[in-house]
Each structure stands twice: as C-alpha cells, then as structure tokens.
Subunit: 515 residues, 2 copies
Amino acid sequence: MVSERAGNDAKSGQPASSVHLQARCMDLDTRGKPVAILRSDSPLCRAEGFSAHARIHLRSQHDEIIAELFQTGSELLGTDQIGLSIPAWRKLQVCDGDDLHIAHPRPLRSLAHVRGKVYGQPLKPDALEAIMSDIVRGRYDEIELAMFLTAIASRALDDDELVALTGSMVDVGDRLEWTQPMLMDKHCVGGLPGNRTTPIVVAIVAANGLAIPKTSSRAITSPAGTADTMEMLAPVNLGLSTMRRVVEAEGGCVVWGGSVRLSPVDDILIRVARVMDLDAEAQMVASVLSKKIAAGSTHLVLDVPIGKTAKVRSRADGHALARRMESTADAFGLVTRIVLTDGSQPVGRGIGPALEARDILAVLQGVDDQPLDLRERAADLAGELLEMGGAAPPGQGRALATQTLVSGAAWRKFQAICRAQGGLRTPPSAPAREVMTAADRGTVQGFDNRLLGRVAKLAGAPAAPAAGVELHVHLGDRVEQGAALYTIHAETRGELEYAREFAGRNGEIIQWEAR
Amino acid sequence: MVSERAGNDAKSGQPASSVHLQARCMDLDTRGKPVAILRSDSPLCRAEGFSAHARIHLRSQHDEIIAELFQTGSELLGTDQIGLSIPAWRKLQVCDGDDLHIAHPRPLRSLAHVRGKVYGQPLKPDALEAIMSDIVRGRYDEIELAMFLTAIASRALDDDELVALTGSMVDVGDRLEWTQPMLMDKHCVGGLPGNRTTPIVVAIVAANGLAIPKTSSRAITSPAGTADTMEMLAPVNLGLSTMRRVVEAEGGCVVWGGSVRLSPVDDILIRVARVMDLDAEAQMVASVLSKKIAAGSTHLVLDVPIGKTAKVRSRADGHALARRMESTADAFGLVTRIVLTDGSQPVGRGIGPALEARDILAVLQGVDDQPLDLRERAADLAGELLEMGGAAPPGQGRALATQTLVSGAAWRKFQAICRAQGGLRTPPSAPAREVMTAADRGTVQGFDNRLLGRVAKLAGAPAAPAAGVELHVHLGDRVEQGAALYTIHAETRGELEYAREFAGRNGEIIQWEAR
C-alpha cells in the first residue's frame, strides 16, 4: 500500500515530493491539535527525510492539514502506517486503512509579514489576507499563532490594518445572508463576571418582532462565555440550517458561532489567546466585528463595562475602544451604538456557566429574589436595540424592554427559542461547595473581578459547567464577622480545594472597610 | 498503587491537591516536549479534575516537570498509570512502575510580567528572575515562550533590562570557575553561512598558550551551529569534568554549551526562536553573554558580519549591537572587542555541518586549495585574542596567528584537542547531490545569504549533517552559461528534491550581471 511519487508541481502550490501511507486512528485526544505519529524505523520516511522535521503535511480525499510530527519505535504502528490523533483524524475525515498523502509542508511565506510587524512594519491588506488564509488552513502552529497575537498586542494596529484584519477574517469563513432587512445584534467586550445579559436581551428583542440571530463565543479568558452559559439552557452547537429555522420561527436564537464557521480564524486565535490570557485590542475588535459582519448583522449594541478590574479600566479607554469599534464597523456598513456600563462589581450572583444560567432564569421568570442589577443591565441594552430597530420611539426603549419582562412575554419567547434550539434544559448543580466567610465585620468596598474570575476558573469553569462562584454580597453591603461572602462551587473535590486554596491566599478578592 | 493525598502546603509552593500514579514509558519521541497521557476514564483523574486541563505537574524522586496532557481511551494504558513521552521520561528519571506524584500546576504568576512587557511596561530585575526561574523549571509552554520572545523583540529592552535578563539567565544555571586568571572566548553573531572560524581560532589561540574553553551552541535559525559543525570532527556533548580535563591538558576545547548547563534557559528559548525564525536583539545579546559569563570567560572577541542579507544589515546596526554587547558585558566585568567583518557573501565553500568541517580541515592542514577567505577571517579574530591575552604585542596578533597556521602548530593543537574530546572524526559525505548551474554567462554580483541558508536547511541541515550547499563561485567571478554555481548535498532523495525545487523557484539566490 506504499507508493512513491516525485512531483514537480511548484506552480500548483503542492509540496514537491510526497509519499502515501495508511491512516490509523491512535485514540489520542490531543486537545484540538492535529498530531501524526510515524515509525522512526520506517525506511520510506527516513528516505524522504520526514524524521528530521517537526511538522508534516497530510492530505486525504476530504481535507488537508499540517500536523505536529511525533515518532515511535513501538510495533503497535506498522512502518506503512501513519498514526493520527483524534483531532487530525476528524479533520481529515478518514477511516482506518485509508490512503493518506504525506509531504513536507511548504515554507510559510506569510510568516515574514508577522516578523515584519514584530519589528514595526505595518501589515498591508494582502499580508493580512495571506496570514488569515494560512491560519484557517491550519498552517500556523501554536508558536506562530502566539507570535502573531503578541505582535498585534504589542504593536497596535492602525485603522487601516484593523479594517483589513477584520475583512480578511470575514473573507476566509462563511457569510450568512438573510431575507430580513434589519438584523439586530449585541455584544459585551467582557471582563465583568456574571454579566450574562445576552439571552435576556435576545428574548426581549425577539418578543418585540425584531430579528436577532445571535452567535456567541465560548470563554476566552473568563470562566464562562455566553455560549457556555446558554448551553446550560439549550443546545447551542446548531448548524446553519437549524439556526435559520430557529430564527425564521422565533425571530431570535443564541447559538455558538463556531458551529456555523463564521470567522473560523477567530476560534483558532481564541484557543491560543486563552492560554496567553492576553487581550489585544485589535484582536478584540476584529474578533467581535468579523463575527457580526459574517453573521449578516446590520445593527449592533455594544456593552463596554468600565472598572478598575474589568477588561476596560477607565472611561477614557472605553471611549478609545468605542471609537475603534465604531470606525471599523462603519467601514463595513454596520450601525453600532456603544454603551459604557458600570464594571466595578460583578453583575448578578453567579459566575460560571450553570450559576449564570440560574440568574438568567430568575430574571426571565421574574421571581422575587431575582438579581435586579442583571435585569436593569439587560433592559438598558435591549432598550437601545428596540430604539435602533424602530420598535420603540427614541427614549422609550428601556420602558418597553421592562414591560416585555414584566408581562412574561420575554420568558415565553425565551422558552420558545430554547424549544426550537432543541429543548429547554435545567442547569446542573455542583456537588462540592465551600462557603468563604468574612474575617471581620465591615462594609464591602470593592471586588477584584479578575481574581474572582480566577477562582471560578480554578474551580473548573467553564469546562466543568456547574463550577464557579456564587456571590452573596454587593458593593456597600454591611457584613458581620463570619458572614458568607461567596460560595465556591466545583464538580470535584480536587478542583474545590485548588480554588479554595487560591482564594485563601488572596484576601483582596473582596475588599472591605472595618467598622 | 493508587493513593490520595490532600495537601494544604501553600507556603511551600507545592500544588494543593495531588494523586499518585505509576509511570509508564510510551516510546513516543515528542521532540523535547514533555507529554503525559492519562486514561480518559480514570475515576481518580476525573475526581481531581485533571481531564479538564491542558497541563499537569509531575514529580518523581529526582525532578519535577510540567507536561502537556493528552488523554486516551485505549486499554494499552491502565487507569492507575500515567504514560510519559521520552522527553518527560528522561527528565523525571523514572523506571516503569515508579510512583509519580501528579497535581494541578500552580498559576504562573511571572506571566503577568510578560503581559506587562507586551503592553510596554519595563521588566524589573525581580520580574526577569521570576520569568527565568519559571522557564528553567519547564513551567512555560511553547505559547508562553513565544509570547515572551515576541514581546522582547517588539518592545526592545533598555540597558537595565538587558543586564538584568543576562544576569538572571546566568543565575538559573551552572557557573564555571577556573584556575587560570584569563579565559579567552570568541563568538560570531551569525547570519553568514559557512563563517565557521571558531575551531581554527581555538586551535591558534591554544597553540600560543592562552586558555580558551569554548562552549558553542547548535543552530538557531541557520543550517549549522558551531557545535553542529565541530561534532563532525570530534564529540562535543562533553560533561563538565571532561571539558575541564580537555582544557587542562590542551588549553582549549570546542564543546556544546547545552551539555554543561550554562545558561540552560538559553537552550529552551532557542528551540522556540528556531521555529519563529525571529532574532530579537535582546535575546541575542543575553544569549551570547550569559553563556560567556557562566563559562567564566574574561576576554571576548565578537565577530559581527555586516551585509544586506546577513543578520546585521548595516554598519550602523553593527555599531548599535556592538554598543549593547559592550555595555552589557562591561556590567559583568567581561572585556569585549567587537570586529565588524564583511558579510556580503558566505565564507569558505561549505554550508552545513559536514561541508563546513571539510573547509576547517583544509585551512588547518594548509592544503593547496584551502578557502583563503576562511583562513583570513580566522587569523583576524585569533589575532585580536592573541593581543588581548598578551601573547602578541599590539598590531602583531594577526601575523602570529598566520604563523601558527603556516607552521602546522595550529593543526597539531587541533588534533590534540579532538583526541582529548574523544577522537578526531572524518566528516560524512552526502549520497544525493545536484549541481545548480548558471542560466547565462556573466559576473557574480551578489549572494542572498538567507536564501542560501534556506536551501541548505531544506536539504536537511543541520539535522542531516552531511546535507547543505557547496559553493563554487565568489563575488566577482566570471561564469559561462552552464557553469556550476553550487551543489546541493542531501542525505535523502526527498530532501534533495525539496531543496532543489525551492532553489529553482528562487533565481535571486546568486545574482549576476550578464556580459
């Protein structure tokens, strides 16, 4: 089953020299990274010199990838076989024994543009197109992706570069077209734990007859993304046709953007940005807008929380980000309204997918002890969209939004949307919990949102969906010594201990003034 | 064999919660990266929440590492076992069945300093100490290393930062102490193919009674490092005691620096810098000087080739680099002399470990068709060291160096050094070759050193040591149509074809003027 081929197809962009081997699934979960394994004593691979290199180009009948290359001397793999990790296996869509074409990857020319940016040269549109095109084809490894993200964080993109980056991110993915003339959208730049207004806003806006087909992302550096939280209430991995059906029927949806291949480069970049815990302004703007533009949105309201420990730390920074968002959106004909909001403390009580989902249900159902701050925030943002879409006269949006919640119309609409997405779910509860208490009596003076997020992440969120932090106090609350400040929720004893230990060492998570 | 332990040793810096598993070698060569594999259905690992995370902390009786975590459902691994890749296995020094302590890695606090640098905050000495300390313990993964290297390439370090970086790189490794009062050293900042003067310089300097215990590195982005080339002539992976014995006996040596743990962080950074193909000035200066300072050198001559396609492109850049090198070296009491040399074309004929080794032998043996440019360059640099060390009066160093070559004293000393390092070797020859010829008659006007290096690398250098490029022409040579310009050497047919195809598409590798 082994055959050789000497090619000379430089013009076609295919590697020059290549061999064929049989695919073999190695049952190895490599967390999204394509990995291939060759026998170190395979004569053919030695003859072709694959063993001296770290990466390999693989092509099946269906797709092509660049995989990281490991070697083994184990006889579990034949010398005419190539072992594939589960992500490589899935991407190539092969079966055991299928013929796989392997070759040296071509030199990555677009990387010269990234290096140029590191040293201060601006990125031209064709350079960004080349980079995005290589990234979406899986040609950048993690080191190269980290270099790109660090370069654009360190050497801020100018307006032309940012428009070009956004446009090229849109271009390498799918683009949705809708029959509706207006498509509403909302986004929060994040950094504020628990600020999960989207499902409530979608319910309010759709209940008032406007179309709002919302695609959301999973967490980047936070303990939960909107998609992670919505998944606690309904399926979010919807294909394009299902998403269309939901929007046609109910006017709105909340689905994971990655499942519809809108700006797929964004998902690749986010995986690396998550490890780096680095939010580059340009990556943030392009990430948000490329998804919206690709989704076909026409009107966008953007929630920018401002707070010492939120993602945006001052109103000046907020205005600067708003200006970049608006000018970039404008280049693509997307009408955008920015709302600077209070980011001094978490919104609602829960931090983490399931805990946030419970807050959302409480607001939509209008229960007595609902988190009012979450309800107010959602009504503000929905009100802007109702005005932008003409469902409410100027100045009347907020009142209409509140009325839609009070009447139960939003809750009925939300249930209908969840049913259309595959069924309303009940969020899970965490089996392991620990209450963190006040060491002294006093008044709550501040929250470190980043540390709170870190506790929720160490407890397992978002991968462990029931994990997170449940807050019992807000700014200005008076607490007695020993009173409950927050509860850590975890799915496992080990994670609970891990988060608790970190929280114990960081007393500044909640600051208070003794009295 | 599975046991649990709940710890609360926050102050000791140990992870809070952990379990024990049996080590098992997976016979998987992961190119230096420690990888661990767990059974996805191991109840204990699920209970501890390891499955939700990408990295894991492992500790044996001998050492500790952070490993990348993969999962498998395969029954080849027991649920009470943890599979280790060969690099993880070697670092932990375990045997099959040995008890291994596994835990969640602690949050990487030093990364906050790296993020600060990305956004323009200077790196303080304690921040650099913390970063270097974490890197040397294997706590930074490739993404984080790439972020650090990109940050210091993009946001140039100031003099204080550079001294602190260099010092902290020295501090986290070993430091050699010698009985001799003066220790000579030389270094080339690279970027000029074939410029392999070190073994010749060491032989000349040692033959004149000065001590020159040379530690060299392997290739970063070039087709060969000095250690790669020297390895063609003698063993270079010498431990510290062997290196001392060689220097005591012969006054000089040429060994791989990595085998004596001088500035071990440098080797970790270089592996990532190699993929990035990015040479940050600060990394370059700290990399060079930390090795020299740790090696105990007192006098250093630095060869800085200047050329359009060399690493340093103009005399102005060369002077700037020289100033940074000198001021940083000065902070550590290292006397440094910088020599700006001609970097417009390769030195010698060979590019690649074995081909360069043949040039070195030709110069030392004084054969008729020796590459004179390599001989002149080596005599210049050795001459500086002979003057700095007082073996020659000012202005007389070069003449003494040439005399040492002509008399055969340098060749005798080199043979003695090689014998002391483990035996003189004969460089290998490449079985696959292709001669690249001139398309027209004309005069050679220029070389693209970077493209030449790329051809040698695509041919397999330095991993395939016989691979590389053999030049047949120099600047100003008149060539007829069809005349041989250079020969590509490869160890395999596939690599030869790969390099040839790249060379065919890049006619500008050698530029000439038609006549």
